[in-house]
């Protein structure tokens, strides 16, 4: 039954990919279409409101600067608001202002679409902050990332320009995120997720005890949290909390919400490239890696923890430490795999409690950071590996490599090398640094090899802009707030700027005609090469550290 329900969810996703990808193409291609009639008026109103007269294409530099400056404006506002939340309205819990380094970490975490949370929602932020900072940044960071991905696709498929950032940003909100979020919010309320501005409930339990139940405007955050692949929970327990995720049905809805847009982007890309097969090949490579890693987590969690199983109890359910009964192993494993593939970072079971081999799945997906991936970034990263794959093949046969009819030369490869190397660099260096200092080591809550994984996971999650955590780590200290803040910033902006530069550089090249000698990038051979490149370049870098953490722990438990 476990495998059947997993297959059912994957099938629903695959069926939705084509319509969603087509819709996204219509939204961003700039060709007139039916969505103009519904949303065009609102958008023109907004363009007028912000004084945007020219909506012509930007240079890649202008696009990147607009993206960054908009992000700075949003983050400045959010920083001020969190530091002053005590005196602002809608604070029924009387929550105080947020501490400086924690605020620094939190605003970076949300603007970079990471949503690593070093605060706990119940006690750390007011309802107003949950709405005007958390929910707002969930929309705007997702729309920012999405715009960049579309710009990159325009660049490598040889459109006239990378597009206009402001127009993309507005369209992403008005035609994608806001309508979808409203629908999912109402569906979630229908499935019993609360949405209220009333203060915490005070009830007398069946045994006559008093129980305070934190509540709030949860559904409206929950929907965009997944649609925007953000992942920051309203509550500390995130999507394991019954108010955030009350039933298996809400779980499936949340999984599809976070998976659909990233999974539809390869199809949209195929339409932009006027080669749908190419889109499906990329999708196929992503899905292959996804299924393998999902299988690993499902098998490991079903087998359970040998040390607990040895106690003689009925452990046929699998490893239930840190998991909820309503989800069981199947819905937990699927959620864990999707949330780290799509770099959402919400959790419906505690990743710190995963069995050693089970924890390899989320770690690997975040280390690769291109299996579906978060809003846009996953597709961009996968295309980066595709270009790298083409380059490697070109070296082997001694031809100048081409991708989509454009020559790949030294400048592009240098930029791609930067984007690929920054990821392991900002994971492994701070991990090592954390072990050299008491500030880092002192926060480890699980002894032995598992502690190694805790630290590694925190930086992997920050660098991949995922935001899930091995939450036992006592990470609300200046050391962790500042180091992970910097890692999140580098993880987000360095690769995005490098890839926009690649797009700009490719746009300037003259297309070369396709000949019989052109290496085709839309067949099974290329999918194989792509997966190989991802595994050799992306995964091997991290093999030693995986051996030191999860595999060593596995060997001690066996």
């Amino acid at each position: 039954m476990g495998i059947v329900q997993i297959i059912a969810v994957i099938l629903i996703l695959v069926l939705l990919v084509k319509p969603a990808g087509t819709y996204l193409y219509h939204v961003f291609s700039g060709e007139p279409n039916r969505t103009d009639r519904i949303f065009g008026g609102t958008e023109r109103g907004i363009y007028r409101l912000i004084g945007l007269k020219q909506r012509g294409g930007m240079s890649w530099k202008k696009y990147a600067v607009s993206f960054i400056v908009t992000n700075i404006a949003l983050v400045t506002f959010s920083y001020i608001l969190l530091r002053l939340q005590k005196g602002l309205p809608l604070n029924p819990g009387g929550i105080g202002n947020m501490e400086e380094t924690l605020t620094f970490n939190t605003v970076i975490s949300f603007i970079t679409n990471t949503n690593l949370q070093h605060y706990s929602g119940e006690t750390g932020v007011s309802y107003f902050s949950q709405m005007a900072v958390m929910t707002m940044l969930m929309f705007t960071s997702a729309a920012s990332g999405f715009s960049v991905a579309v710009a990159f696709v325009r660049g490598i498929t040889g459109r006239s320009s990378v597009g206009n950032f402001f127009e993309d940003f507005v369209k992403a909100h008005i035609r994608v995120f806001i309508p979808l979020a409203l629908l999912v919010t109402l569906a979630l309320v229908g499935l019993h997720v609360p949405q209220t501005l009333k203060p915490a409930l005070e009830v007398t339990t069946l045994e006559g005890q008093s129980q305070q139940i934190a509540i709030g405007p949860i559904a409206s955050l929950e929907s965009i949290k997944h649609i925007g692949t953000n992942g920051g929970g309203f509550f500390g327990a995130n999507s394991a909390h019954p108010f955030e995720n009350p039933s298996p049905l809400s779980n499936v809805l949340e999984i599809l919400s976070m998976w659909l847009l990233p999974a539809s982007l390869p199809y949209m890309y195929g339409k932009f490239a006027k080669n749908k097969r190419q889109g499906w090949m990329i999708f196929g490579a992503m899905m292959t890696l996804f299924v393998v890693l999902l299988g690993l987590n499902y098998a490991a969690e079903s087998a359970g923890n040998p040390a607990v199983n040895a106690m003689g109890i009925d452990a046929s359910q699998g490893s239930m430490e840190g998991k909820e009964v309503r989800f069981g192993i199947a819905q937990s494993a699927l959620f864990t795999t999707v949330t780290t593939a799509a770099t959402t970072g919400s959790v419906n079971n505690m990743h710190d409690t995963l069995t050693p081999l089970g924890s390899i799945t989320p770690l690997t997906l975040m280390m690769l950071n291109n299996v579906f991936g978060g809003k846009g970034v996953g597709l961009v990263n996968m295309l980066m590996y595709a270009i790298l794959g083409v380059f490697l093949c070109g070296l082997m046969v001694g031809r100048t490599p081409e991708f989509l009819g454009r020559k790949i030369e030294a400048r592009e490869m240098k930029l791609i090398a930067i984007a690929i190397l920054i990821h392991p660099l900002i994971i492994l260096v701070p991990t090592a640094a954390a072990f050299l200092t008491d500030l880092g080591q002192g926060s480890i809550s699980n002894p032995g090899f598992h502690g190694m994984t805790q630290v590694l996971y925190e930086y992997v999650s920050s660098a991949a802009n995922n935001g899930s955590g091995f939450e036992g780590l006592a990470d609300n200290t200046s050391f962790w707030n500042i180091t992970t803040g910097i890692v999140m910033l580098l993880g987000r902006y360095v690769s995005i700027i490098a890839m926009l530069a690649v797009a700009g550089s490719l746009l300037r090249k003259k297309p070369v005609p396709e000949t019989i000698g052109t290496f085709r990038t839309d067949n099974g051979l290329f999918t194989g090469i792509l997966i190989g490149t991802v595994l050799i370049i992306g995964a091997l870098t991290f093999l030693p550290v995986i051996v030191l953490g999860p595999i060593a722990e596995y060997l001690t438990l066996r």
Binding site: L49, T140, I178, T196, Q211, F243, P248, G322, K323, F327
Partner: protein
């Protein structure tokens, strides 16, 4: 005329830096208001009008109409004559959710689990440990899990029957009445809501 047209076009293509920054500030302001204020408030209004019970925490009332909790949030049951919930490091205090995040090799977790099993043996003599389902001795992720598996309810029946005098058949019938199936017959796991079950049990005893 042609000249001035050209000038306007150039002006539009490269507006001054101040105008560009001002556009960005206005763009940010628009979406702060739209996504941060209008959207959540509109959602709240719609939810409160259309689905007030769900939007306010799905409260559970007893037959006298008093609220005894939320159907979604688990509770701590100390009375051995009631069905027990899962382990919760926060003892089902729902003002702040969470758990200890013990890794699989953590000695504290192994000790806690083995202590739970020892306690279980004391409370449930006559039921072999091999029948004790793992969900009863493990901590849920949220610390607020409202459910246990049907097997975890059934295994508690002999103890509750002994303490309360209710015949096991009645309790078995009660458990199967409160066993919820998989969603749409496919998704998730079969489960029993402990609070609902215990409420029914308490009202059965009162009769």
């Amino acid at each position: 005329m042609a000249n001035s047209n050209k000038e306007t076009a150039e002006e539009q293509q490269s507006p001054s830096k101040a105008a560009y920054i001002f556009t960005i500030i206005r763009l940010s302001a628009v979406f702060i208001v739209l996504c941060g204020i209008i959207y959540p408030l509109a959602s709240t209004a719609l939810a409160q009008v259309l689905m007030p019970s769900q939007a306010n925490g799905s409260l559970l009332k007893n037959s006298a109409g008093q609220v005894v909790g939320s159907t979604l949030i688990g509770q701590n049951f100390t009375d051995q004559a009631l069905f027990q919930s899962r382990v919760s490091s926060i003892e089902y205090k729902a003002e702040a959710s969470g758990s200890n995040n013990y890794g699989p090799s953590n000695p504290d977790m192994l000790q806690r689990t083995s202590d739970s099993i020892t306690q279980w043996k004391l409370d449930n003599p006559g039921v072999p440990v091999s029948e004790l389902p793992i969900d009863l001795v493990t901590n849920s992720g949220s610390g607020l899990d409202p459910h246990i598996t049907p097997a975890a309810a059934i295994v508690q029946i002999p103890r509750i029957s002994n303490l309360s005098g209710i015949p096991p058949e009645t309790l078995t019938a009660l458990v199967s009445e409160y066993t919820e199936g998989r969603d749409l017959g496919l998704f998730g796991e079969k489960r029993v809501n402990v609070l609902k079950l215990n409420l029914a049990l308490t009202e059965l005893k009162a009769k």
